[in-house]
């Protein structure tokens, strides 16, 4: 099987689990159902954690969180990136320089520290996580979109649109953007992998999704003290993060080839 198809299949399964979490999870993810740190068994597929909660149920609900945060963060990044990128690429000149220097400044910040600072100042809830990740990861999209706009705006159909009297807004939205969507789709797929990783790191550090709500990242955090006694507590969420991110990369790479996007 091709990597891209494999990745897509895995993502569809994960998405299915996330959507159907209440149906699939055998236990309430936040409820203490059994003794602490039980090894995986038929009753508890992935074992139980340090408080006696069912890890399988928590992992399934955690998929919801990770995918939602990843998707929402990327959506924000795409919206902001497309906005700045299309204006910079379409108008060029001074506006372009100004916006691109702003992008450079944003890129110069080590974004994880920026995120940590903001999260430390705000109350670290799931919505802040989405917004903060989104607002620190749009710069790549902006550069990409700008490049596409610079290329497409020289094409004759854009000149044709100008000659029939289209407004700038109409040219950007109707004539250029639809023709720039391929690299944006690729960037969104790869960006989602990054966003899920960032969410996990944040939750691992206690600045992301807050307990008792389960996320793969904070499940890892809980597992730290039990690495020796209950290694499944760490391996399960760790493996899930790995599989999800890898699948997204596989799909992204496949799309890049299929849509013939130059990176």
């Amino acid at each position: 099987m091709k990597r891209g198809k494999f990745g897509l299949l895995v993502l569809i399964i994960l998405l299915g689990f996330a959507v159907l979490a209440p149906v699939i999870a055998p236990y309430d993810p936040d409820e203490i159902v059994e003794s602490q740190t039980l090894a995986p068994s038929f009753n508890h597929l992935f074992g139980t954690d340090d408080l006696g909660r069912d890890i399988f149920s928590r992992a399934v609900f955690g998929a919801r969180i990770s995918l939602t945060v990843g998707f929402a963060a990327v959506a924000i990044a795409i919206i902001v990136g497309v906005f700045f990128g299309s204006i910079a690429g379409f108008y060029g000149g001074f506006i372009d320089s100004l916006l691109m220097r702003f992008v450079d400044i944003m890129l110069a910040f080590p974004s994880i520290f920026l995120i940590l600072t903001v999260q430390a100042m705000l109350s670290p809830n799931i919505y802040n996580v989405m917004v903060v990740i989104g607002l620190t990861s749009w710069m790549g999209v902006a550069r990409l979109v700008r490049g596409e706009f610079l290329r497409i705006r020289e094409l004759q159909y854009v000149e044709a649109a100008k000659s029939i009297g289209c407004s700038d807004f109409r040219i950007i939205v109707r004539h250029i953007l639809p023709n720039a969507q391929a690299p944006i789709i690729v960037a969104a797929t790869l960006g989602m992998a990054g966003a899920i990783l960032t969410e996990s790191s944040l939750s691992f550090l206690g600045l992301g999704v807050q307990p008792p709500m389960a996320s793969w990242g904070n499940m890892l955090m809980d597992a730290q003290a039990y690495m020796r006694d209950a290694p499944w507590m760490a391996t399960i969420p760790g493996a899930l993060i790995l599989i999800t991110v890898l699948s997204l990369y596989f799909v992204g790479e496949e799309l890049r080839e299929k849509l013939d996007v130059r990176s």
Binding site: L155, Q156, Y157, E159, A160, A161, K162, S163, I164, G165, C166, S167, R170, R174, H175, P178, N179
Partner: protein, 231 residues
């Protein structure tokens, strides 16, 4: 109909259009010849108002009455917009017709360029080069212009298609009582399409006259050179 006075446009240090004065009469077809880089396209874009002149004036025509047919039908149609929508767009933007009349207008325009009305639902990549250029013409005509700039409209087509498109253009000009500015480098085509010819070089009009004057009795050595190289 159109009076151009002392028109100048420079790009950096290059004078693309250098102090051109020119008149285009109503109902005529004026040919504009010259090698690539001579400023023909810049002149066309100035008349259309796509770029702004540094100096000089264009009188006698409103911007909305000018339209252009581009050289390359491969790139002049947006690959993601259906033919029917592309033709309807100028009408929609200018709100020239009530919305419910537009579909009928598109059909009529397709008929005018001798394309089946089924083409309205197709995307550009499903069409041949000649068909696309017909669409380009229909789009240019959709806002009822009085003046059409044809920027080498057949130079990227094969010879048999060229003949069809030229015939069509001639036919349409008569039917709709249009005025043409026909840009080309092939004097045979210019001779077929035009009443008068202007020869352009390095941003200037070297010579202008009826096609008999220019083709049979050229005054400038450069015109002679152009004639000898293309006929």
């Amino acid at each position: 109909m159109i009076k151009i006075e002392k028109l100048t446009k420079t790009f950096g240090s290059i004078k693309a259009v250098d102090d051109i004065s020119l008149e285009i009469f109503k109902g005529e077809s004026l040919g504009l010849v010259g090698e690539s880089g001579s400023g023909k396209s810049t002149l066309a874009r100035l008349i259309l108002g796509l770029i702004k002149q540094d100096n000089g004036e264009i009188k006698g025509i409103a911007k909305r009455d000018c339209q252009i047919v581009f050289q390359d039908p491969q790139t002049s149609l947006n690959p993601r917009i259906k033919i029917g929508e592309a033709i309807a767009e100028p009408m929609l933007i200018r709100e020239m017709f009530p919305k419910e009349e537009i579909a009928g207008r598109v059909e009529k325009l397709l008929g005018l360029v001798m394309l089946n009305k089924e083409f309205a639902n197709h995307y550009p990549h499903e069409l041949s080069g000649g068909e696309r250029q017909r669409v380009g013409i229909a789009r240019a005509l959709s806002s009822n212009p009085k003046f059409l700039i044809l920027d080498e409209p057949v130079s990227s087509l094969d010879v048999s298609t060229q003949v069809e498109i030229l015939k069509l253009l001639k036919n349409i000009k008569q039917k709709l009582d249009l005025t043409y500015l026909f840009i080309a480098h092939d004097l045979l085509i210019i001779n077929y399409m035009c009443d008068r010819i202007a020869v352009m070089k390095a941003g200037k009009i070297l010579e202008i006259g009826t096609k008999e004057q220019i083709i049979h009795n050229p005054q400038r050595p450069y015109t002679k050179l152009l004639l000898s190289s293309s006929v």
